[in-house]
Structures are given as structure tokens and as C-alpha cells.
């Protein structure tokens, strides 16, 4: 595709005010789909989780999943929304091969949740409140694979394959009001907002929130308003921006692209655009047209959802502490400086840290192990840190270091054993025989041997050149295969050498 002209970001901000809007789709982690009892499962064999309802076979009818309603209400509440007393599903009619019924069962003018807000904090400390217009329920589409032509691309494909396993998976679509006043922070606002949504759905436990598996997907709307004007610019809708970094990049890119186009006297087409993760650009999709006449009408196969106020309050009582508040509390409790705390947050280790500390580990030690050695091993194995060891195991390991049973070096070996499934840290210490040797007998024997074999060193120590002891200490540690406390060894070496230190 032709490369678009981009305007320098600072110049773009001088000339235009960016206006944003986001539609975030959250896949709920219910056991079954939104409208049928097929498993809601990622990664099953193609078309194994399908039935007459989610395949859109003639005669199939939908049945609403109660858990999906509860999750949607809880999510709405967590976003500060009002919960509708009367809410309905509607059919959104359009033809597409991944949409089995050729309509999406969604909500139109009667969404389950509306009028919310979410305050996010940027890295600068700036707080931005994003107004939520609505959060509504709908079902996901199946998955298309484009074959032939340029690998995997829809353009130029010879044919496509459809797997309806994802068809009918419950989604909540969260739609913001226009976000104005973001100014140069606009891209960061996008990233931080999506991160906040992700954090909330995770804390609620309503979604697996794995962006790489499409559990959270973002459409970013961007328009520019010329400085001094009060007329909104035409917006573009960049679809499926599916990582936090991409949200930031895509917003920034659209600001620069639109600014260049407008400045050159061009006009913005109201269209959907595609984000290309690899090249970092957006490209034009289908222009908005009257083909977008979705002919919404109330879904006649489903009856209205009218949650009682008692039910809503019952669900409100199950809400966890808001993630932002929790972070503030934890950072204060642990006494971490921003950098240390960010490190934990960015590595997605808040939960395990909290559990490790609750199990008795000092905060700094927990941080050191989780963001250090464990993260390194997890990275190398390509898995998440919390899948390797449990917070209880890490706390036990730290305890062994604190009480002098293990040195850091030994502890790393114990950790390996724990990960290998050899048991608890104490069991690994026992079975591998890794504890620090605390009995002086073997140490003294080793020291005497080392001193005997290095008489020149012994002479130096006796002359008061204490630093010469390093060579003997090294030899002793080697002989003890690391299982000695280096400080104690030093103490004993000097003593045996008869130093007057």
C-alpha cells in the first residue's frame, strides 16, 4: 500500500486538537457461549464447539447464559455505570461469512449498562476521566482463515475457511463518549484506558483478559479539530488494535496521518481502517456508507432482561477493590519507589507478590525473586512466572535464605528443583543436600588444607595482608561446593592463619 504522509507529531498538536473514542470488546470467560451450551473454549479443534444455535442452522434458537448477564452487570458496575431496569437484545443485520445467522445478537437502544466513568492515571501523574457511554452484551463471530494469495491476508485470497467455535462467545462492548482535551497525551490515554479496562475485567474475573488471544480487542476512533474551530473533524475507526503498545502507536499514527492530510487541503473519509502491527501503519478499509443500515430490531427469540435492584446490589457487593486503588494501597504498604512498583505491575506480578508477602516474605525480597530469577526462567521457557512456582513456595524459599539455611546461590538451585517438581523448598534442600554447612569441623579441615597448600598466602596473612585471604576463601568455597557461608569461612581462615585482625 502507498505510504501515507505523516506530519511531525508536535506540529500536528500545534495545529489540531485530537478527539478520541474507544470501543473495547471484552470476551467473557463463561464456561459456555452466550446463547447456547457449547463450550466457550480457546484452541479446540475447528468446529468442535458448535450446535444448531451457534451454527445458525434453520430452527436453532438462542438461550441466554445467566453467568454472562451477571458478568456484564458486574463489569458495568465496576465501570461506574447504571444498570438498566429493562434491557433488550436486538438483532444487528449484516451478511458476513463468519456470522452464522447473518445477524449479530447485540443490544441497541436498551443496553444493560450505561453512563459510567473511569479515571485513569498517566505516567506523568495526570489524571484523566473517561466517560463511558454504555456497555452492552453481544455475541462474537466465528474465525476466518484466508487462504491463497498473500499469506493470511484477506486481499487477494483465493478462498476462506470458517471455524465457528468462537461464534457465540459472549462479549461486552464498552463504548466511551468522546474524549477531548487529551492533547499530546492522546496516544497514552488510549493505551492507559485499555490497560485499565483489562485490569478491571481481570480483577473481576469475568475475562481471561489475554489480548494476544483476542480476549480484549480495541477499536480506536480518532478525529482532529483544527485549533480555534468548534467543529468536529471526520473520524476514522481503526479496528482490532490488539495490544497496548499498538493502541498507543495507532492513535499517534492517525493523528499524524490525518494532520498531514488536512494540512495539505485534503479531507478525511469516514471509514474503518486496519492496523498493521508489523509496519505500524493503518490502511483504509471499507468506507462508511448506507450499506451500514443494520436494521436493528428487538430480538423476538429472546425476552427482555430486567434485573431486579436486589440482584444488582447483590452483584455490587461482589466487586473487588478497584485496581487503581489497590495499586496505590499496595505500593504504600510495600514501600516501593515508583520504578520498583512499575516493574511489578508491568510484569503482571501484583497478585503473586501480594500472596507471597501475605505468606510472610519481606516485600523487597519477594520483588527481587519474582522480577529477577523467576521472571528470567519464565521468560526463557516462554511461560508466565506464576505458572512456574506458587507464592507459598517462593515465600518458603525466602524464609530459608533469611534463616541462613541457604545462600542466594544455593537458593537458585533449590528454585530449579522446585520448578522441576522435586517438592517444597525444604524437601529440595534435603533431597539435593544443598543447605549451608554450618558445622565448623569440615570447614576447618578444608581451611587447613588450603592454607597448607598455599604457604605463601599463609605468610602474607600472617604479615597482616588480610586481603590475601581471598585466594584461600575461594579455594575453600570451591571445596565445599558453595555450601558454606563465605563470611564464616573468612572468619575461620583468619583465625586459623593466626592473624591478629
Amino acid at each position: 500500500m502507498a505510504k501515507a504522509e505523516l506530519m511531525d507529531y508536535d506540529k500536528a498538536l500545534e495545529l489540531f486538537e485530537p478527539v478520541l473514542g474507544f470501543e473495547v470488546h471484552v470476551e467473557l470467560n463463561t464456561k459456555t457461549k452466550m446463547f447456547c451450551g457449547c463450550a466457550n473454549e480457546f484452541g479446540s479443534g475447528a468446529n468442535t464447539n458448535t450446535c444448531p444455535t451457534c451454527l445458525g442452522l434453520p430452527g436453532g434458537l438462542p438461550q441466554v447464559n445467566r453467568q454472562a448477564i451477571e458478568s456484564s452487570i458486574r463489569l458495568g458496575l465496576a465501570l461506574g455505570c447504571e444498570i438498566a431496569e429493562y434491557s433488550r437484545f436486538a438483532r444487528k443485520n449484516y451478511f458476513y461469512p463468519d456470522t452464522a445467522k447473518n445477524f449479530q445478537t447485540s443490544q441497541y437502544d436498551e443496553p444493560i449498562a450505561f453512563n459510567g466513568q473511569l479515571t485513569i492515571e498517566l505516567e506523568s501523574g495526570r489524571q484523566v476521566t473517561v466517560d463511558i457511554e454504555r456497555a452492552h452484551m453481544e455475541d462474537d463471530a466465528g474465525k476466518l482463515t484466508h487462504m491463497g494469495g498473500a499469506a493470511g491476508r484477506i486481499q487477494g485470497a483465493d478462498y476462506s475457511l470458517v471455524d465457528y467455535n468462537r461464534g457465540g462467545v459472549p462479549l461486552v462492548e464498552i463504548v466511551t463518549q468522546m474524549i477531548e482535551g487529551g492533547e499530546a497525551d492522546a496516544p497514552e490515554i488510549g493505551k492507559t484506558y485499555v490497560a485499565a479496562i483489562r485490569e478491571i475485567v481481570k480483577a473481576l474475573g469475568v475475562s481471561n483478559a489475554r489480548m494476544e488471544e483476542g480476549n480484549v480487542r480495541c477499536d480506536a476512533n480518532v478525529s482532529l479539530r483544527p485549533r480555534g474551530s468548534n467543529i468536529l473533524g471526520t473520524r476514522t475507526e481503526t479496528k482490532n488494535v490488539n495490544s497496548l503498545r499498538s493502541v498507543e502507536r495507532a492513535v499517534r499514527y492517525e493523528i499524524q496521518r490525518q494532520a498531514a492530510l488536512l494540512h495539505a487541503g485534503g479531507t478525511i473519509t469516514q471509514e474503518t481502517r486496519h492496523w498493521h502491527e508489523d509496519t505500524g501503519v493503518t490502511s483504509a478499509g471499507r468506507p462508511k456508507s448506507d450499506a451500514d443500515d443494520y436494521r436493528y430490531f428487538p430480538e423476538p427469540d429472546l425476552v427482555p432482561v430486567a434485573p431486579s435492584r436486589a440482584w444488582v446490589e447483590e452483584l455490587r457487593a461482589t466487586l473487588p477493590e478497584p485496581p487503581a486503588a489497590r495499586r496505590k494501597r499496595l505500593q504504600a504498604d510495600w514501600g516501593f519507589v515508583n520504578l520498583e512498583f512499575q516493574d511489578v505491575v508491568n510484569s503482571d506480578l501484583l497478585d503473586v507478590m501480594e500472596a507471597t508477602i501475605a505468606a510472610g516474605a519481606p516485600a523487597q525480597a519477594a520483588r527481587k525473586w519474582w522480577t529477577g530469577e523467576i521472571a528470567r526462567l519464565a521468560n526463557a521457557a516462554g511461560v508466565s512466572a506464576d505458572s512456574l512456582v506458587t507464592p507459598a513456595q517462593v515465600a518458603a524459599l525466602i524464609e530459608l535464605i533469611t534463616d541462613g539455611t541457604l545462600t542466594d546461590r544455593l537458593a537458585r538451585q533449590v528454585l530449579e528443583g522446585v520448578i522441576a517438581g522435586e517438592g517444597t523448598p525444604s524437601e529440595v534442600v534435603a533431597s539435593r543436600g544443598l543447605a549451608v554447612v554450618s558445622d565448623d569441623g569440615p570447614l576447618i579441615a578444608a581451611i587447613d588444607e588450603a592454607l597448607a597448600s598455599q604457604p605463601d598466602v599463609l605468610a602474607k596473612i600472617r604479615d597482616g595482608k588480610v586481603q590475601a585471604a581471598g585466594a584461600v576463601i575461594g579455594a575453600v568455597m570451591k571445596a565445599m561446593r558453595g555450601q558454606a557461608d563465605a563470611a564464616r569461612v573468612r572468619e575461620l581462615v583468619l583465625k586459623r592463619a593466626g592473624s591478629a585482625e
Binding site: G37, N47, N49, L55, Y94, S160, V162, D163
Partner: protein, 98 residues
Amino acid sequence: MSEITAEQVAHLANLARIDLSSAEIDRLTIELGQIVDSVAKVAEVATPDVPATSHPMPLTNVFRDDVVVPSLTVDQALSGAPDRAGDKFRVPAILDEE
């Protein structure tokens, strides 16, 4: 008389994904005009004070428990497919993403 035009019918046919011939469009333009003229009388009594009824029986909150029930087998799911490749439904090239 209603003002249904052939262009309008062609547009509706496109929305409804039916490849109507121009003869069909012409005939439907006339028929649709007549039918619409006739049924438009609903507006006479549909005053703002009358609530709409979308379902004949006024039920609310009909839910299913979140319990997995067996799905079709892959062969059952694909048994009616006009075309398939492996365990997936095969469709001709798609012009552009929705």
C-alpha cells in the same frame, strides 16, 4: 401513492443479498409500492401513547445455567456444508473485512 423507486428496491435487494434481475426489480417496485400503500395505515392508530408490543407474552429474565452441553460432532456440524476443507467450512473469497 408511496414513492418506492427501482433504485430503492435494488438497494434493498443488495442489503438482503439477493441478486435480483432487472425484471424482478421492476415487478417488485410496483408490488412493494402497492403493499406499502396498503400497510401504511398502521400509522393511523399508532399514536405516541400506545406502547409497542414485541413479544405476545410478557416474559422477562429467561436464563440458562452456565453448564456445558454436548456439541454436535464435527461431521454433524459440517454435514450440510456445500463446501468444506478439512474441518472447516469453505467459502469463496471475501472482498473486505466488515
